[in-house]
Amino acid sequence: MFDYHSLGPAIGEQEIVMERQFNAPRTLMFQVFTRAEHLKRWWAPPPYTLPVCTIDLRPGGIWHYCMHSPEGQDQWARSVYREIVPPEKLVYTTTFADEHANSTLGMPEHLTTVTFTEEGAKTRVTTRVQFSSAEALKIAVNIGMPQGMTITWTYLVEYVQELRDSLS
């Protein structure tokens, strides 16, 4: 049976889930997600850098950071911690912000839940992103679900089937 979901994110659901196993102990994984000196090394997509990153690691505390482009432009974002269970779990909401950590428009507010699960000496990190105004998002995504997309997928499924037939 061909799995449609393996083709991409779960469209039509109001959350995006991403998982990966990392070759590091759980305490270290929790630190690289919650300490500025670590985040500065991997959080921003290159060529952006993370020159400013302040973290107030407590429920209600703010994580405020700036992504800086080579052209000298800054994009600030802020997250508010909702739940902190070291070294297991981290929950925060995010919006874009100004340099004083006031929220600004630009992307839907979203809630991120990061869980750290021990798997032997390794750690599985699961990131679950849920958008506020889930209803609006659901309606919008459903409208956007283009027939085009379905057609492409149908072609792909047929193509895979053809490949299988030709191989067998």
Partner: protein, 140 residues
């Protein structure tokens, strides 16, 4: 000045989310977050309607509906087809499709972030290994 900032921000967002769709995303989202406008979009999902029909179904005053339709038009979410002396509103599909793409880019952003984290952890732990080896060497 404000306009300049907005332009800069859009440029940056575009780079961060790797796509040109973010600007559309932003206007789409701002327009849809208002419940009456979302309701109008839902009504139009089933087919084009006149202002009169929308007003009737929403149970709002026509000036209010017109105001919402203006926002939706400016965000390129709806388009108007004049027909005789009536104005028929219908949805444009493009912004919604772009939202879908934006959501995908969000996932990509995280996947790339995980890649960088993987590299960083390797570097971090190799470094620690060296440091602890050096400490052991010193102890010998």
């Amino acid at each position: 000045m404000i306009k300049q900032n907005i332009l800069n921000q859009e440029y940056i967002l575009t780079s961060i989310f790797l796509i040109k769709y973010t600007v559309t995303m932003k206007t789409l989202w701002t327009a849809l977050i208002e419940p009456n406008r979302l309701h109008i979009v839902e009504l139009l999902r089933d087919g084009p309607l006149t202002v009169g029909q929308i007003t009737e179904r929403l149970g709002l005053q026509q000036p209010q509906v017109s105001k919402h339709l203006k926002v939706l038009s400016e965000a390129a979410i709806v388009e108007v087809q004049p027909q005789a002396n009536r104005r028929i509103y219908q949805l444009r599909r493009e912004p919604f499709q772009e939202l879908e793409v934006w959501l995908r880019s969000f996932r990509r952003l995280w996947e790339e972030r995980f890649d960088r984290l993987d590299d960083y952890l390797l570097e971090l732990q190799t470094h620690e290994q060296h440091t602890s080896n050096r400490v052991e060497d010193n102890n010998v």
